[in-house]
């Protein structure tokens, strides 16, 4: 009977999307762009360093190691070099393909060293540690996998630590549709009888269950503000009785949303102090070498119109403040403020309004944006502009007609608030 002398130790990661670029307006700063260029490569390097430093028994990669849009053999070269380093250190690698790497052009030409085992679409199992550990895996054959891949896994081997590698959206069969990726439920995974499910696909880290362990490690390097906060891989130590799971950060660039509360603020000269306080707090709290921040202004303040009007100036100021802190960049300021008047008088539905500008704002909300004729005109106007844009950019305005229309309406609503803020600015001029 096989047995483990010591716990089996491995690193579990997924969704690195090697060489997919970081997206942030902060990269307008060329020094920063040079610094974070190839952030995913740095993350891969650190993962390999971690495996070697910790002398683990294996590295497990649960899909989407590289990106579907990735066609550069340059990426393949980086990948091969990283795997060779592990080979030289005697560390085997087990990987499956997810929706992205299954669809990638470089998959067929990838020449990986002998220490790397890629499970194919039919699935299979490999044993290690003199037969005390079995690693099972099933790859995506192509981009979509609308059905569960769980039936392709073998039954657990008896008296052995069974580890399963699976790329899944973990949504359950019921919600299976065009957006489901190898759907299955937590219960189904647990029932299968493996001791550790090394999952991939969802970019947010979650330990679904401690024992038998079901772990979605999240992506190790966030690539835009949508993937903010801490990112990590799992360092696992497992035997027949349980698993000890540690998180290890490998990203050197981190995205973070930082709130700037403006409640009750009534002097524009205090805005820089408020931003400074928020940025300093964030810098002190987060140890990352390179912190890309999106500031979110919140709260009810009479300065609302002023903030909207001077947004470019405030962004410049925020960037200057960040330049004085070590390794902090500000990519954008997002406004979630309301005017103090709105906050005070609540929803005043009288269109005669306390103020003609408020009156117009209410008319726009209630009538203008509900007008079919106007929406059609907006769509026509927008179409002429949109034609000039690269295709990749057009996607941002909505992938289908309904989404496109909703985007335009949202932009019209936000834009009208900005325009009205500028007109209020006119009111302030009149006062002066």
């Amino acid at each position: 009977m096989p047995g483990l002398d010591a716990p089996f130790r491995f690193v579990h990661t997924a969704d690195l999307h090697l060489d997919s670029p970081l997206k942030s307006l902060a990269l307008r700063d060329e020094a920063l762009a040079r610094r974070v260029g190839g952030a995913t490569r740095a993350a891969l390097r650190r993962i390999v360093d971690l495996c070697i430093d910790e002398q683990v028994h294996a590295l497990l990669i649960a899909g989407d190691l590289y990106d579907g849009e990735q066609t550069s053999m340059n990426t393949a070269a980086v990948l091969t070099a990283a795997m060779r380093r592990l080979d030289e250190a005697g560390i085997p690698v087990f990987m499956i393909r997810g929706n992205h790497d299954a669809a990638s052009n470089i998959t067929a030409d990838l020449m990986l060293p002998d220490n790397v085992h890629v499970f194919d679409g039919r699935g299979g199992a490999r044993t290690l540690a003199d037969g005390a550990v079995a690693i099972h895996g099933v790859s995506f054959g192509k981009k979509h996998a609308p059905d569960s891949l769980l039936p392709k896994f073998k039954a657990p081997l008896p008296d052995v630590v069974n580890i399963g590698l699976l790329h899944t959206s973990l949504t359950g069969a019921a919600s299976g549709g065009h957006n489901a990726y190898a759907p299955c439920t937590l219960g189904e995974l647990v029932d299968h009888g493996f001791q550790y499910w090394a999952l991939g696909h969802v970019h947010k880290r979650e330990v679904h269950r401690d024992w038998p362990a079901v772990v979605m490690p999240g992506n190790p390097q966030g690539r835009d503000i949508g993937e903010d906060g801490s990112r990590s891989v799992s360092l696992v130590s497992i035997d027949r009785d349980g698993a000890h799971i540690e998180t290890r950060e490998v990203a050197d660039t981190r995205f973070e949303r930082v709130g700037v509360p403006l409640d009750g603020l009534d002097e524009a000269s205090l805005l820089p102090d408020a931003m400074q306080a928020a940025l300093v707090t964030a810098r002190e709290a987060i140890g990352s070498d390179c912190l890309i921040v999106r500031l979110e202004f919140t709260g009810a303040t009479p300065l609302d119109w002023r903030v909207r009007r001077d947004l470019d100036y405030l962004l410049g100021t925020a960037r200057e403040i960040a330049a004085g802190l070590d390794g902090v960049w500000v990519e954008k300021i997002e406004l979630r403020t309301t005017t103090a008047t709105e906050a005070r008088s609540g929803a005043d539905s009288d269109a005669a309004g306390s103020d003609a500008v408020d009156g117009i704002a209410q008319l726009i909300d209630r009538d203008v944006l509900a007008s079919k004729a106007l929406i059609e005109r907006l769509e026509r106007d927008a179409a002429a502009l949109i034609r000039k844009l690269p295709v990749d950019v057009r996607k941002r305005l909505g992938e289908d007609e309904a989404a496109h229309r909703a985007t335009l309406l949202r932009l019209a609503r936000e834009g009208s608030a900005d325009v009205l803020a500028a007109l209020r600015d006119g009111a302030a001029d009149a006062e002066r």
Partner: protein, 1163 residues
Amino acid sequence: MRLEKFALTRFGHFTDVTIDFGASPRDDDLHIVYGANEAGKSTTLAALIDLFYGMPRQSPHAHRHDYKTLELGGRLHQNGSTLDIRRYKNTLTDASGERLDENAIDLHGVSREAFGARFSFDRDTLQKGGESMLANRGELGEALFSASAGIPDIQRRLAAVMEPSNRFWEPGRAAGKTLTALLAELAEVEAGLAAVDTDAKAWRALKAQAETAATASGEADARVALGQRRIRERERERAALGSARQRQLAKAALADLDGVPDTPPDWLARLRALAPRHTVLDAGVVRARADLQRLDAELAAITIDEPLLALAPRVTELEGELSAERERAERIAALGDLVTEHERRIASRRESLGAPASLANDALLPRGDALSAIERLVREHEGLDATRCAAREEHDRLLERRSALADETVEAPDPTPLQSLLAHVRDATGGGAVEMLEARWRDAGLELETALEALRPWQGDADALRGLAVPGAADRESRRRALDEAREQRRRLATSDEEQASRHAERLRERHALAGDDALDDAHAEALRARRDAAWRAHAGALDDETSEHRALRHSARAFFETLVEDDTLAARRLSASERVARLRRLDVELAADATEDITRKTRRAEAEAALDAAGARLADEAVALGLPASTLSADVDDWLVRREQALTALARHRKAADEREAAGKRRDAHLARLQTLLKTFATPDAPAPLDGATLEELLAFADARVRVLVEAAESDRRQVAERDRLTRESASRAQALGRCEAALEAWGGRWETALDGHWLGERDVTAVGAHLDTLRSLADTLAALSDDTAERTRLTAERTRFLARVRAVLEAGGEGGDDAEDALPSRLAALSRRVADMRERQASRRRLAAARDAALAEAEALEKERLPLGVELDAMRHRCGVGTVAELDAVLERVRERREREREIEEAGDRLREALDADSVEAALSRLADLDRDTLDDDIARLERELDHAQREAGEHRLTLGRANESLSAVTGDDAVVQLAERRAHLLLEIGEGAIDTLRMRLGKEAVLDGVRRYRDRHRGSLLDGARDAFVALTLERYADLQTRPDDKGEERLRAVSLDGRSLETDQLSDGTRFQLYLALRIAAYHEYATHRVPLPFVADDVMESFDEARTAAAIGLLAGMGRKGQVVYLTHHRRVVEIAREVCGERVQVHELPEPTRPGE
């Protein structure tokens, strides 16, 4: 909300200025605030806004008063009650200083900016409004919105807002990151990516290319190898032909060299090495022998004096000491002078001391440091003597002063009881307390009188007022509300009646218009039908009448026919007009109902009037009950009640003052009596006590004078006693000090004797010794110097004698005779030194020549030793070759070398031949060459080389292809260039996306806002245009009759003004002044529109009529008064004429407030 009072407590250059707008007036609420100075006006406007919204931190009005002390105040009337407020910085409080929430001021959600824009205007904003109407050609929606929001210049503002996003999008704009620039950069980055990156497809193609090229290159290499082998074969054959020819030529040459002797092969080389060397050695031997002879002769010529050389060290040493000797001689002379001087000085000191002549020099002074001890004793004695004199003198003086002081003092009475009573009386009556209470009582009386006066027409005294029964506030409030409600009810009825009357008139008018065609009404139809029936009956009767004729028949038939036709026509018309008929009928019904309604309305009006009368009567009763006329207004009763409270307060104050005044009088009398009694005990004959009738002031003055005299006398006594005690104490202490001094002098005498015991100075007294102390000290120094200098002179003289002896000895040894005087010795020593040096030089020359001779001898011997074997060897060679000279020998050996060379050539050519053809022997090779010829071989080789060249080129090309492919493949190393470019590309897409979305947002936002403005226009156009029309006609003094709108060619509605003669003018055809008035008219209309829907906030206008003539000013004030009927209107001006015109136009209905002339700093 209404502002009843406005206080500029500390603001700008104002201090404690209050404007009282008063309680709500019955009709116009128009206030003209006049200030002579423009700054005061704008400060007032700013202050009003700051009162409502707080003071900005960077307030421009904190120049006179510090920002921290700025204060405004006011009384607001809002939601049926009044509120007193104060404003400090951003803090709002009520009158008692209790902090209030900002919402305590009901501003209906109007922001600070909106208030400034909507509830105020000045000349500048109106000017801009007029200009903006010119700019947008009177576009209606914008004009209405601009006027309503108080925002002029919307188009320019919109253009400014859109500017950045337009800049992003529009092509050809170079500045900043435009879309065009970003797209260009994107294209560049993508091209860069394509250049440096290798994608999977390209990679596969490269790999295939590399494999094909590798195969082709291998094949070409094989062909090259074959070709090269064939060429090598042909070339070997060609070389073999050449070798055979060389062999033949060498054999022929060898035949010519027969008979040359056989010598060892290295002889020629040996000869050519030996012969030149042998010649050189011969010449060397001859030269060396000649040198040897010359040197021997030179050595023999040099002689040496050895004894002289032996003296050299001693001469050198003495020469070295010569300068020291000179210094020594000078020093000995100087010391002689010094000794003489010392002796002279000692003789002089002895004389001044008066020392006995028999005394030796060393017995003149005391031994050891006794001189210092004597010095100390002399100084000590001087100190003790001085102290004794001083002590004695002070002691005597003190005794003298003590005896001068008298012993007796004067006794005076103790003034303390009088002092304490005085303080008590002053506390009770001081500071004019009684007078103050008196004045307070008189003021309170006057105040009470005034308060009672203010209650007129009410009659009665204070007690009557106190007894008066007053109705409760709640009762009064309910009665007043009843009156207000009754008034409101009557107003509503009147409005409703007016509406009903206008509806009724409208119906009558419509009825009249519809009924214009009386053929249609029911009565007419009835009559026609009756006529038709009559005709029918006549016709029927005619038919029945047997006597009737055809004529009559025809007549009746036509009549009937015509009637029938008319009836049918009418029926048809009535049918077609049935709706109008129905409307007519409905109108008739409604008109009838109106009549009934009229009766009901009359009843309700009567009821309302009765209710109003009853409510009025109840309030009148209340007034009568208070003793006021029944006609007193309710508000006046309120005021009267307040005044009554004030009168009661005044009454209470008056009574309290009377009580206090009386008590103070009593206290004063009591003090007077006590003081009088006590003063009698303090009287003296010089200062008799005042008489019984004296006033309190006289008593106090007398008492003060007595106390002052007594206190001074006591103080003087105390000082004298203290002085006497002090003198007694000090004289005793000085006597003690004198005693201590005498004792010390006695002890000193003992020490003095011990110090000078046995010395000749012991016979002198201390003063004499003290006088000679300096002389003694100087004598001691001189004696010491004499001793030192004498000793040194003795030592130096001895050294000199020794040196001169050594010089004489050397000169003698060196045979240097001459003058033996001490002065001549140095020059003699120098002559000897020169001779010694000359001899040393000669000795050195001799040594050099001896060394040169040894070297020449050694060289000659070495050359001869080398020459001998060379000569032997050369002789041997000549003999063997049978020749005499070296030149002949060289020629023979040269031929021997040539013969050997030819033999080697033959052998080598044979070897090459064999090797080239791979033959076993030369003969076999030669036989194979028989069939070959040179030309055929050349042709073959040329052909093969061409083929080879071709194959090599092919192979090169394949290798190049392979190399390039491999290079491309190995270039895929995962360097950073690709990933940096990809990042750049992603970022550019993001930038384009952000820019595009910003632009879209602003464009769509602008469209939405413009659409909103159009909707706003549609919603408000009626009321706004009507109001603006009236105001415009009035402001233009009816030079314009109407305002119209008309769509332009794009369908946008535009404002037009219609002049009195019927011309319709666009806004750009109006004069600037008229446009200004048009915009003002729109602003006034917007105010009315707002006031119709909401309770307006106070409106503040700042001098907009500067350019108006008097008639226009009057018209504008009329319009402001009209606004004043809806809400409070404050007009700020610094033109006295505006105030006068307002008075002419509005009479008492306008309230004028004057701002005080601001005080300048330093006034």
